[in-house]
């Protein structure tokens, strides 16, 4: 990375100062147990706050409002995590997947239409998974039939999408649908931009294990999408999706690792330093101390792994399984760590019924955090799938016959 160290130190100081001035005081307490509207309002306001500082989309090209180097982004995310700033939850798909898709495979027209929109708060959702296409994404069944009758040119879409996170608040959807049923599995899929206000579209929230409903089902019944909303060539949607899936270049995992290493570890240490009913601090028990030190170590390892991943992305030397290694390690460390927090918090952890919105997966409400940790070991290819990727693509082991 080409940014001189001195400039990075300056950026670090700037961001740190900005955080002191702008991170809402006590937002965790204020955001605990809020409803959907309040969450959306808070997220949108925080996004605009970051945007004003130039911190909302640092990874975008300068011409669209970004322009930070990878090294600078690392500093930014480290400082946001250190300051325990709210996370950008709602805009996540918009600024990462949607933007990456538009920037790498979209038309100029599509870019001009949506990138400024995203900066103004346009919310996107990812419509990839289906009931029968989870880990085996390529087996998706939603159809997109091209229809040029009556002078128009549209894709008529039918099917069902699952696990569409935040669909209830979304303006636009990144949609994968099968446009050539006769083609091999991965060769007949098209990538479409779908307006969430289109007729024929029905969004139903799915209640998750925590009782929240940010995941949704999307039912598509003769939904018409103008052909101009096709991204990349027709039937090449799988390739577009693959090319843009890792567009965040490791930065998301780096941010999550930093959050685990800041507020996460601090909360856990605090939990263990709090005297119990008998006046003893758990941390004075060597059993607890040993586990804490183990987590401190694992987090340090995770952070090193994430920095390395970002640097490899930047240097163009990223390996085909590097992201899987990080995902497996992060998600299982998160699960172990929150699980340990739940054990230490004991009966008290059962009586904590809500955790703050806009936080990460380490709110310090340990049992809720623990349950929430399966949001990392399952989606995006379960850890079982990730291990197969690591074995085959990372180590070159033979595929199953």
């Amino acid at each position: 990375m080409s940014v001189p160290r001195g400039d990075l130190a300056e950026l670090r100081a700037t961001v740190r100062g900005w955080c002191r001035a702008h991170v809402p005081a006590d937002w965790r307490r204020a955001q605990t147990g809020v409803g959907g509207d309040e969450f959306v309002a808070f997220q949108q306001a925080w996004f605009q706050e970051l945007r004003r500082a130039g911190y909302a989309v640092p990874h975008w090209p300068a011409e669209w409002g970004g322009g930070m180097s990878a090294a600078e982004q690392m500093v930014l995310y480290q400082e946001l995590a250190a300051a325990d700033a709210p996370r950008l939850v709602l805009a996540f798909v918009s600024i990462h997947h949607a933007a990456a898709t538009l920037l790498t495979a979209g038309t100029d027209e599509q870019r001009r239409r949506h990138l400024p929109g995203i900066l103004d708060g346009e919310i996107w959702v990812q419509g990839f998974s289906e009931p029968e296409a989870g880990s085996d994404l390529a087996s998706l069944r939603t159809t997109a039939r091209r229809d040029r009758r009556a002078g128009g040119d549209v894709f008529v879409v039918n099917g069902q999408k699952l696990w569409a996170s935040g669909a209830a608040h979304a303006d636009w959807c990144l949609l994968l649908a099968r446009s050539d049923p006769a083609a091999p599995k991965r060769r007949g899929i098209s990538y479409l931009l779908m307006d969430m206000r289109s007729p024929g579209l029905d969004v139903r929230p799915i209640r998750n294990a925590l009782g929240d409903s940010h995941f949704c089902e999307i039912f598509l019944n003769d939904v018409e999408i103008p052909a101009e909303n096709l991204v990349g060539p027709e039937n090449a949607g799988w390739q577009v999706a693959q090319a843009t899936l890792s567009a965040e270049r490791g930065m998301t995992m780096l941010e999550l690792a930093e959050r685990l290493g800041n507020v996460g570890l601090r909360s856990l240490v605090d939990t263990c330093r709090r005297p119990d009913v008998t006046g003893r601090r758990p941390i004075d028990d060597t059993l607890v101390a040993d586990r804490l030190a183990g987590f401190d170590t694992e987090i340090a390892g995770l952070r090193a792994l994430c920095r390395d991943l970002v640097e490899r992305h930047d240097a163009g030397t990223v390996g085909p399984a590097d992201a899987s290694v990080v995902k497996v390690y992060y998600s299982e460390l998160l699960q172990r760590m929150t699980g340990f927090g739940a054990e230490i918090a004991g009966l008290g952890a059962l009586a904590e019924l809500a955790k703050p919105a806009s936080s990460g997966w380490e709110s310090g409400r340990w049992l809720l955090d623990f349950i929430g940790s399966w949001e990392w070991t399952i989606p995006g290819g379960t850890n079982e799938i990730q291990r197969t990727i690591i074995g085959e693509r990372g180590l070159g082991l033979p595929r199953e016959p």
Partner: protein, 386 residues
């Protein structure tokens, strides 16, 4: 008898609670009373079934399997358990008879966390204190996470009398000086609450003594609680294993049932191994407690030998620490192997994970039970060396 009880219980709970029984899978209390499950250990002479804690354990396991909501822990496991350990009095007998035939809900206010497993142990951690005696007797103290406290019609409070001897005090929610508060918990299939007494007057004839040593009585009562949640966790883990095997056999990805992949298959194998080990430990603990309880009952005023109490505590600590930790792991693995579906509210996997988490913390964490076991290992080794 036990196999038949298990079959009947499983059927009944599957019908009564089921998956469409709403979020809290409340079991019809009258149905449990009719089935005769409430007075299993109540003697024939008091209209009970006169069997042992081994049968109660079966019901606990089946309640866990169904993740059912029922105040069984408060009424039968702890309520009947406490009453059966007491000296015979009219009030005690009357309550036992009612419990076996009718359905009064009980709760026993005792320490449900790690404290009584510490080196000090019972009675240092008895939550209530009696001051004065007879009509002037007043009760003060506080117990938290008391099973089924908020719905109980009669409360039994574990207290120390003025002589420092553990006794059981009967009280009624709403009586002066006594406050019962529900504590909402993530496991909505369970009910716990806080019981607080501040100089509460004690009704005449409501202070009951344990047969024999009150300390031993209190320790066995805590062991009953720990064993009951271990049984619950065993049932819950078995349910999660069965659900996962079922799902993995029908769910297809990559053109195959996911259960044909070694990652899933071996995960299920590990679940079976730990459930099998846990079942063995729970069985041993149940046997030890049944033997000690019989000895306690037979011994009359003489009470029970220290060695027998220790044998129960060792077996229960093993079963509780292993099975309650294993159930959380098994439910977590079930969530993982169910994939996205397992993370939905509707799948119900989360109910088991939360229930297992509460069971793990209730009546002593695995670490606290293991600490007690380790003290015993050290003492035994010292005994050998001598």
């Amino acid at each position: 008898m036990r196999a038949e009880l298990r079959a009947v219980a499983r059927d009944l709970l599957a019908t009564a609670a089921g998956k469409d029984g709403g979020d809290d899978a409340q079991v019809d209390w009258a149905l449990l009373a009719e089935a005769g499950w409430l007075g299993l250990e109540v003697p024939d002479g008091l209209d009970g079934a006169g069997v042992t804690v081994a049968e109660t354990a079966v019901v606990c396991e089946e309640l866990g399997r169904a993740a059912a909501r029922a105040p069984y822990l408060g009424t039968t496991v702890l309520g009947a358990g406490a009453l059966l350990a007491l000296e015979t009095t009219d009030g005690r007998d009357e309550l036992l008879r009612a419990l076996a035939t009718g359905a009064p809900r009980l709760a026993v206010a005792l320490p449900t966390g790690d404290a009584p497993l510490g080196a000090a142990g019972v009675p240092g951690t008895v939550p209530f204190r009696l001051a004065g005696s007879g009509a002037a007797a007043r009760l003060t103290g506080r117990a938290e996470f008391v099973p089924d406290a908020a719905e109980a019609e009669t409360l039994l409070l574990l207290a120390l009398d003025e002589g420092g001897e553990p006794v059981v005090v009967r009280a009624v929610p709403g009586q002066p000086g006594l406050e019962v508060t529900a504590t909402p918990v993530l496991d909505v299939s369970r009910s716990v609450g806080a019981v607080a007494a501040v100089g509460a007057p004690v009704e005449a004839g409501s202070v009951w003594r344990f047969r024999g040593d009150g300390r031993a009585g209190g320790r066995l009562l805590l062991a009953r609680g720990a064993l009951a949640v271990a049984c619950d966790s065993l049932g819950a883990a078995e349910a999660m294993l069965a659900a996962t095997v079922g799902y993995a056999s029908v769910r297809h990805q990559f053109g195959r049932p996911i259960g044909s992949f070694q990652a899933v298959k071996h995960g299920c194998a590990d679940m079976l191994v730990s459930v099998s080990v846990g079942r063995g430990l729970v069985t041993e603990a149940t046997r030890a407690l049944a033997a000690a309880s019989s000895a306690h009952a037979a011994g009359g005023a003489g009470g029970i030998e220290e060695a027998a109490v220790i044998a129960v505590e060792v077996a229960v600590s093993r079963a509780k620490s292993y099975m309650c930790a294993a159930a959380v792991d098994v439910a977590g693995k079930a969530m993982q192997l169910h994939g996205g579906i397992g993370y939905t509210w509707e799948s119900g996997v989360h109910r088991y994970l939360k229930r297992a988490a509460l069971s793990r913390a209730l009546f002593g964490s695995p670490a606290a039970h293991r600490a007690r076991l380790a003290r015993r290992l050290d003492a035994d080794a010292a005994g050998r060396a001598r």
